[in-house]
Amino acid sequence: MAPVISAKNVWKLFGPDPERYLRDMPADRGFDEIRADGYIAGVKDVSVDVGKGEMLVIMGLSGSGKSTLVRCFSRLHDITGGTIEVDGQDIMSLNERDLIDLRRSKMGMVFQSFGLLPHRTVLENVAFPLEMRGQDRHTRRERALEVVRLVGLEGREDYFPRELSGGQQQRVGIARSLAIEPDIWFLDEPFSALDPLIRREMQDEFLRLQEMLGKTIVFITHDFDEALRLADRIAIMKDGAIEQCDTPDEIVMHPATEYVRKFTEDIDKARVVHARGLSLPINGATVEGPPVDGRARIQDLARQLVNETREVIPVADEDGKVIGVMQRKDALDLLLGAG
């Protein structure tokens, strides 16, 4: 299936006349060398695809370019080089009118500090994108009420943002981004400004919504735990470039670079890795006994692994079909932190 978002060799440079600099720049010039030339490489030669219904989490420390990259996807930034296609259409070729239409019909975005309009009530904030689209008062009110209910803010429709707590304000931000029923949902560190308890609650809420809506999502975070918890795939960024883009299991089990390895060091891998992630090809070996569910985390299998008598355990997919085998030793090593 064709990817919803497809980025190829995307560059975003900040500085005077960046296009010309990029054209004349020798290949494989490093971030620091570029900086020495007076340019900041916000995004450096990034290629990544996001499939339909997939949740890609972009993870990186502040200044790594993750926010810049997601703003390139929605063309809040114009890119300096490369191409970005959304549903097969090169977004850099769109004129202003078409770009506005694209955003009005397909994209929703949630911001770190909410970006609510302070002079509008909850309902008016949520209805804002519909209003911009020119929908009539009645339909946009209906739809806005529906989304407000969806994020659990019933009864607060007439409040102003400053009368709400941080968590509630972000619910408004989420509701607004969902009002137009977008296909693609961008979330820029949506929970970073919230305190840890609320953050956890909002993550659960977010997973519930995603279960229900099944959107294509690009989610930005600087919190590795959050990334592991939510992602189908994680792209780890550093100095504008993607260090590794893979499933959480792969990133934890096989970090591609030293930088990524450092992130995974303190992670309790058994809580991340699934049985599927440890499974090896059967290679004609005989499999005995009932298989374990490939979607189960190693940690959840702990009791079974300790009591297990087989050294090789079959792993099955969601239909119960055996897809491979898992070495008991590998799983125990991971569980005990020796992996």
């Binding site: 809040l76 007439d158 607004r176």
Partner: protein, 661 residues
């Protein structure tokens, strides 16, 4: 300048400035010139620029203006605006407020109706206190018998303020949107803000004829600059995420501006409204000089004939209006939207509006039957002008008081002001320019020094050198005196916990008064002479000095004072080596404002009778000599700008060194 310990550690101080060869060179050259003059060997062209070298700038300007005005037909356009829409609006408000016989022939609105409606507005914006202030101001004005003149002033204000707001908003948006507009407007704004008000008045008179229309035009132009600045500031401050949220919601450019930027900049825009209203009031009072009737004209007449009692009463009215307009518009800034509980009935959601309208109607009807509610005649008023006059004059005639004011007048005049003025006038022009250059170089560095040199050279060639120097002398004397008062007052006030707030409030209030007001006590105490001028400026300029001293001392970060405490500093040590140095950049802003205020006031004080540029400027009003008016106005502006550039550059550098930005 005191060098702070923080700066020493940072190693950023330019101590070399003290032994800078450029500075020494400039000073040495100036002294050589002065010595040569003292010895009588200075060529006369270095003493003063000779008559025949002075370009006929004023005449040339007159020719240009005559061309634009008559040959290009600008006068028809401006007269059309003046006699068409603007005069129409002014007539309409004049009819409503004080019954001028023009369309819509409805007025005058009874004073009780206006007082009641504004009291409700005050209550809505800020509770009982605001209600009392708003209603009370109008009740006082009516009872004291100044309703008509106050409404004459207000009728112009009501038209001028919205115009200034709109024009300022549009220009502000343009400057924010287009870089070139910004670059074009910035220098014009800084000149406009230092230009003496007489220079606003004359073109208004010439292009828009005498009376309310010219007054309104001058007022509008005067009030535009801060609105432009607040608009661009507000639009720039809109959080980037709000902007991106707007874009992601699919806003077009127009929707971005009207639905996202402008509403999100609400606070700054309303602060702009507050400033527009206050500047309009200040200017509308001053338009008395071009024959605009109203509070200002009455005050001018009363002060001119030394009727202190009536002047005092009008002064109170103006001050009350200033405070009321300021507080109400500031309360509007603070007012945040808030939601009504579900199911609140319609009339309850709009209770204030309904109440205001109801009271207005009730009093309007009552006034049809009871004359007192409609209008208070001259004889019914409670004015105590004569009695107050007698009391003040009696007080001033008391032996002790009289002796003090007399001695002060004599001492300041004979021992301080006149010697200082004469010595400034003694200095050869060439040496003076070098001294100014050296001073601005020492304070602000290279760029301000170059500008200072250029500006003062232009002044030298304007042909009004002596009068410019006299203006400068008045400003310098007054600012020095107000420093001696304002800074210790500020330092003293900042020591305690509750005084700073009180004095800041007093200063903020005093800053809202139209400058004209400050002449009243000066004339009361010292009569009509140089000392009164200096005294008026001193009161006016002490306000910002005190204000910013307190502000500077209060904003020293608490960790730094705590660190000083833990280092065992005494109160005195802490003040001198920690707080004051940290507060200096802020105090410099106050100092700068004081100088700007002084230049403003010294021109108004021409009314009392001075020999400086202000006097000449006032004369141009009568003769409608536009070219000369502009040359004189620019001289004042250039001197003010010289100091503005130098002091602000110093404050900026200092802030950078101290890491306060």
């Amino acid at each position: 300048m005191a060098v702070t310990s923080t700066a020493d550690i940072g190693g950023h101080t330019d101590q070399s400035a003290k032994r800078d060869p450029v500075l020494i060179g400039l000073l040495a050259a100036a002294f050589v010139l002065m010595a040569a003059y003292a010895l009588g060997i200075l060529p006369t062209w270095l003493y003063r620029v000779p008559e025949e070298w002075i370009p006929p700038t004023a005449e040339m300007l007159d020719v240009v203006f005559a061309f634009v005005q008559n040959d290009l037909g600008l006068i028809h356009l401006t007269r059309f605006i003046a006699e068409g829409p603007l005069e129409f609006l002014l007539d309409a408000t004049a009819n409503l407020l004080y019954g001028k016989r023009r369309w819509p022939y409805l007025g005058p609105i009874p004073w009780t109706a206006i007082a009641a409606a504004t009291a409700v507005l005050g209550y809505y914006l800020g509770g009982w206190k605001m209600a009392a202030l708003a209603g009370g101001t109008f009740v006082w004005t009516a009872l004291i018998g100044q309703w008509d003149i106050a409404m004459q002033t207000m009728s112009v204000l009501i038209v001028a303020a919205p115009f200034a707001f709109l024009i300022g908003l549009l220009l502000g948006i343009a400057a924010w949107k287009y870089k070139w507009v910004d670059r074009l407007i910035k220098p014009i704004l800084s000149i406009l803000q230092t230009l003496p008000f007489f220079t606003y008045l004359l073109p208004a008179v010439i292009f828009f004829k005498v009376g309310p229309t010219a007054g309104a035009v001058a007022t509008i132009i005067y009030a535009i600059p801060p609105m432009i600045l607040m608009t661009t500031l507000g639009l720039k401050k809109v959080s980037p995420e709000v902007v991106e949220a707007g874009k992601m919601s699919g806003c077009t450019r127009w929707q971005m501006l009207t639905r996202v930027y402008l509403p999100a900049a609400r606070t700054e825009l309303l602060v702009g409204v507050n400033q527009v209203i206050m500047l309009c009031l200040a200017m509308v009072v001053l338009t008395a000089f071009i024959g605009m009737p109203g509070l200002g004209a009455k005050l001018l007449a009363m002060m001119g004939s030394f009727k202190l009692g009536r002047s005092f009463e009008i002064g109170i009215t103006i001050v009350l209006f200033a405070i009321m307009l300021d507080r109400l518009s500031k309360a509007w800034v603070e007012k945040q939207p808030y939601h009504h509980e579900k199911g609140t009935p319609w009339w309850q959601q709009h209770a204030y509006l309904l109440g205001g309208v109801a009271l207005f109607v009730i009093f309007y009807i009552l006034a049809q039957f009871i004359d007192f509610f409609a209008e208070i005649g001259r004889r019914q008023s409670f004015s105590k002008g004569k009695e107050i006059d007698k009391a003040i004059k009696g007080f001033l005639a008391i032996e002790g008081v009289n002796a003090v004011t007399d001695w002060l007048r004599w001492f300041l005049n004979v021992k301080v002001l006149i010697p200082f003025r004469n010595s400034l006038l003694w200095i050869p022009t060439s040496a003076f320019i070098l001294l100014i250059t050296a001073l601005t170089y020492w304070i602000g560095g290279k760029r301000p020094a170059i500008w200072g040199f250029i500006f003062f050279t232009i002044i030298a060639f304007s042909g009004w050198w002596d009068r410019s120097v006299i203006t400068l002398y008045t400003v310098i004397s007054a600012v020095i005196i107000s420093m001696l008062i304002g800074i210790p007052l500020g330092v003293f006030a900042a020591r305690s916990a509750k005084w700073p707030r009180r004095i800041l409030l007093a200063c903020d209030t005093a800053q809202t008064f139209p400058s004209f007001i400050y002449l009243i006590p000066a004339i009361m105490l010292f009569g009509v002479n140089d000392v009164a001028v200096v005294f008026a400026i001193v009161i006016f300029t002490t306000v910002p000095l005190t204000r910013y001293t307190i502000e500077g001392l209060r904003t020293v970060p608490p960790e730094i004072t705590e660190a000083a405490d833990m280092s065992g500093a005494t109160r005195r040590q802490k003040r001198w080596s920690v707080q004051l140095p940290m507060a200096l950049p802020t105090m410099a802003v106050g100092f700068n404002q004081a100088i700007m205020f002084a230049f403003f006031m010294v021109i108004i004080a021409a009314f009392i009778g001075t020999q400086d540029l202000g006097q000449e400027l006032q004369r141009t009003l009568a003769g409608t000599e536009l070219g000369k008016n502009i040359v004189l106005g620019l001289n004042v502006s250039l001197m003010a700008l010289t100091f503005d550039l130098a002091v602000m550059s110093w404050a900026e550098n200092r802030k950078k060194v101290l890491g306060l930005t």
